[in-house]
Subunit: 193 residues, 2 copies
DNA sequence: GTATTGTTTCAATCTGTATTGAAAACAGAC
DNA sequence: GTCTGTTTTCAATACAGATTGAAACAATAC
């Protein structure tokens, strides 16, 4: 089962093996970096790519071998990846669990995007609502000298809140329909300062 | 010019000042975290929000005062923010430079999104092209026993490359037109494994 | 010109997070 | 039930990258 280290007698063959694993490494790094910019851990990129480039499901031990990550790290990373539905269980090889990569990359990306961004923006919305509430109260109790300042801040804070809500709607629609159109929510975005 | 620490005699007033600065802090944190998920440094979020919530342009010294960041940090952060066209120079107050926040948040977001994502994806495309080239060569020189493995890996790598290119097109169109429609590039995305 | 004030740079430090390694928990065979 | 091989957990470590603070640099005033 150890596909790459069995028979590499001739120099030609070993060079070929070399370039295959180099290519694997480059692909892993590229996708790893890309995922990294969407705040995934590098190890998630490495492990997913490793599975994606394997013609058959792999055991945790094989992934350790291939990626050079520690046993513990691979275990945790696989949990993360399964939680994002980006890796699936795939039966067993003897007593060892096997894993395979989700191959529908588009579905994967929209799903992950949806979960992550919606949660994030929702969280922002809640915090901003808290701030606006405070500011409203402040506006009613503040002295005349602070009025101007106060009104300005509350206006800007409300605007950020509206934008966040618009963003939430946008992300929600996009991740359902695969279409992301700023025109559809232009009213919320209109630039009344 | 030090708006928040001048006259806070009565307890009512000082409570009001308190809630104003609390609200400011909450807004700063929220937006900071949000920007953080798009890989901006926390200090960038803090400084931008600080400017956005100010009714007039601010000097670096005022920003230091308001955010509690160090002088050096504020200077570097302002450079970053100007590089992203998210903060503008705004004349001078005596001999001190002044800065103001870009207020067209939508323009700002699409611009930043465009720059960042396009660069990122372009970089991935280049790396994947390198890997595919290696794999093609490998395919031609490898032994029969490796053929299957090799063909599989190259197929998958090509698919990732195609997807990246599709993504690049998508981001490019979106950031020009404000419309992001997966249907428009469905051909590239079709799931021929 | 020099002095003074404001701004940028950069090596050192600090902080938050990913990864490790070893121990604990678990599952299946016997 | 115990034993063996596998998987998970978690405190300690290592790392990356953000922030600081002091020194170099620029600009303005005198």
């Amino acid at each position: 089962m150890n596909t790459s280290t069995e028979h590499d007698q001739t120099s030609k063959q070993s060079a070929a093996v070399e370039s295959l694993s180099t290519a694997r490494r480059i692909v892993g790094e590229s996708i790893g970096d890309l995922m990294g910019f969407w705040n995934f851990k590098p190890s998630m990129g490495r492990v997913w790519t490793c599975l994606y480039l394997s013609p058959r499901p792999m055991t945790a031990a094989e992934i350790v071998e291939e990626t050079g990550l520690s046993v513990g790290s691979v275990s945790m990373t696989l949990q993360d990846l399964r939680a994002w539905s980006v890796v699936r269980d795939s039966g067993r090889d003897g007593s060892r669990r096997c894993f395979e990569a989700e191959t529908d990359v588009v579905r994967m990306v929209t799903h992950v995007f949806r979960e992550r961004e919606l949660r994030l923006v929702q969280n922002t919305i809640e915090k901003l609502e808290e701030a606006v509430k405070l500011l409203d109260h402040h506006g009613r109790t503040s002295s005349a000298s602070q009025m101007l300042e106060s009104r300005f801040v509350v206006t800007r804070a409300r605007r950020l809140l509206d934008l966040s809500k618009a963003g939430h709607t946008l992300i929600d629609r996009f991740s359902r329909v695969g279409r992301f159109d700023i025109g559809a929510i232009r009213d919320k975005l209109s630039l009344r300062r």
